[in-house]
């Protein structure tokens, strides 16, 4: 298995608080990696560092062997790293189609003068973007909602749309930040099947932050556990489940994780 993403001694401090400390992780190609940990463990901060929303205080991030620390989020996105957000961040006022097109357009070659003067080239690119985005929406049964406002969709559909929008970037690596938040167990299991299908269909590598343990255990090839910004355990789901430190971090005492 080849390495897709690697962090080396990644550190991020907010004032005196060390949100991520000296973290070295690796993600293999085509793998589904789970990142778990109690609230405030630094999981979302890790995603924000990986996607360039915060620059790291020190340490390195390598995507496909290339250092991406310090690049702008849009540059990292175009290198093939897409993400969803813990609290859904759709472009609510815009249509479902426009949401997907905005992500798809990032790979479109069309200069500002082309756009301003509507040259034949820009019209060609527009057509391409509409057709490809509609096709993607059809694949996820969102085609009939293409003209609806994204903010008007049901909660579940918004979650799904956020994933579709991320896929429109044609990513190699997809970061999912609590995709099952606010879902009941049966919906979470549906999402598990859905993610497994997406993983195969788009040949993705997925990093998943999640609190639904059943989902994490069912889906992930490997799990990394964070607490207070430090990696405290990692390995196969069963190993992690049995690790006393992980149990202590989660439950505060000895016991058994579901």
């Amino acid at each position: 298995m080849s390495l897709l993403l690697e962090t080396r001694n990644l550190t991020r401090q907010f004032g005196g608080l060390c949100a991520i400390g000296d973290l070295s992780l690796s993600v293999n190609r085509r793998e589904i990696l789970g990142v778990i940990g109690p609230n405030g463990a630094g999981k979302t901060t890790l995603f924000n560092l990986l996607t360039g929303i915060y620059p790291p205080s020190s340490g390195e991030i390598l995507l496909d062997g290339r250092s991406i620390a310090g690049l702008r989020p849009s540059e990292i996105a175009r290198l093939g790293m897409a993400r969803t957000f813990q609290n859904i961040r759709l472009f609510r006022q815009l249509s479902v189609l426009e949401n997907v097109r905005i992500a798809y357009d990032s790979g479109l070659l069309c200069s500002p003068p082309d756009a301003l003067l509507q040259t034949p080239r820009s019209r060609l690119r527009e057509r391409e973007s509409i057709e490809a985005s509609l096709e993607l929406l059809e694949l996820f049964q969102l085609g009939s909602l293409a003209q609806d406002r994204a903010g008007d969709l049901s909660y579940g559909a918004q979650r799904r749309l956020e994933i579709v929008r991320a896929l429109a970037l044609k990513p190699t690596l997809l970061l999912l930040d609590e995709p099952a938040a606010g879902m009941n167990p049966s919906e979470a299991m549906q999402l598990t099947d859905f993610l497994r299908w997406v993983h195969g269909k788009f040949s993705l590598t997925i990093v998943l932050i999640e609190h639904h343990m059943q989902m994490v255990m069912a889906l992930c090839d490997r799990i990394e556990v964070l607490e207070f910004g430090v990696r405290i355990a990692g390995g196969k789901p069963d190993e992690v489940k049995a690790n006393p430190r992980v149990v202590k971090a989660y439950l505060g005492t000895e016991g058994e994780l579901p």
Binding site: Q93, D105, S122
Partner: protein, 333 residues
Amino acid sequence: MTDWTKSRYLPPVVLFAGLIITVILPATGLLNDYLQFVLVSVAINAILCVSLNLVNGWMGEFSVGHAGFMALGAYASAILTVKLFPAAPDILLFPIAVLIGGCVAGLAGIPVGILSFKTRGDYLAIITLAFLMIVKSGLENIPYTGGPRGLLGIPRLTTVAWAYFWCVVAFWVIRNLVYSKYGRGIAAIREDEIAAEAMGVNTRTAKLVAFVTSSFFAGVAGALFAHQLQFINPSSFDILKSTEILVMVYLGGVASLGGSFLGAGVVTILTQCLQPLGTWRMVVLPALLVLLMLFRPAGIMGYRDWNWLKPHLSLKLRSKTENKNENGKETVS
């Protein structure tokens, strides 16, 4: 059978017919000077309104510096026609002067755009206010353009036809922009800047394109304005002028081409119609604005547009997805 009202050739034909009419009508004497003045004012205000809407409506920022860009366009063009080439033939000089007025304002849009990379909301509003004050006091201290007394003796070159022409150009270009990759990026910045970046939108390019395009057309409008009134001074471009344009934007509707035109038309014509009321007219318009904010906070046409203003491609798409919806319903029942 194709519905001729949906033909892609209809808007250009109608717009060209409009140009012919605006060339011929004033020559027939059917339009008196006052009516011509009102029509030109509507067109100039529509250009100002749609260009400010790009930043305040589509991008969701709050710029109060639009009069500053307008001033740069007005002065740059007037310097050309009054000081540098007073003898040049108008038919050649005027379009060039307007274009240069636009370019000077557009260049001034670059630093403001760069400052908007890191600053947002109220803070950016203060920066645009500072920009306006810099431009105004700058112009007051340049003796070459008359200082605070202003620039006199500008030839009256803004005809109804020219105003109409530039108005169409402004709406066409801004329509192209908002229905393009960059326009969707600009709207994404309004909705959620972090998500926009994470989805690959280069927000810096998008902001620069928005500010430069917006200020370019403010400059064009300023040039037309100078050659309509034949006199400009720095205080014609103060915060009140910016406020007037803001009122048009928020009355007509944010992020709407049709709304920009409507806002400019309603405000301009209403101010003329209310002249007999004297000072009381200052009450009517603000009262209207208060009512509007209560009942329609996004303006008359906020976030919506007339179909004929949209590009043909997006219309075709709309009918395509609507058909699909109908088909879907049929298979369900």
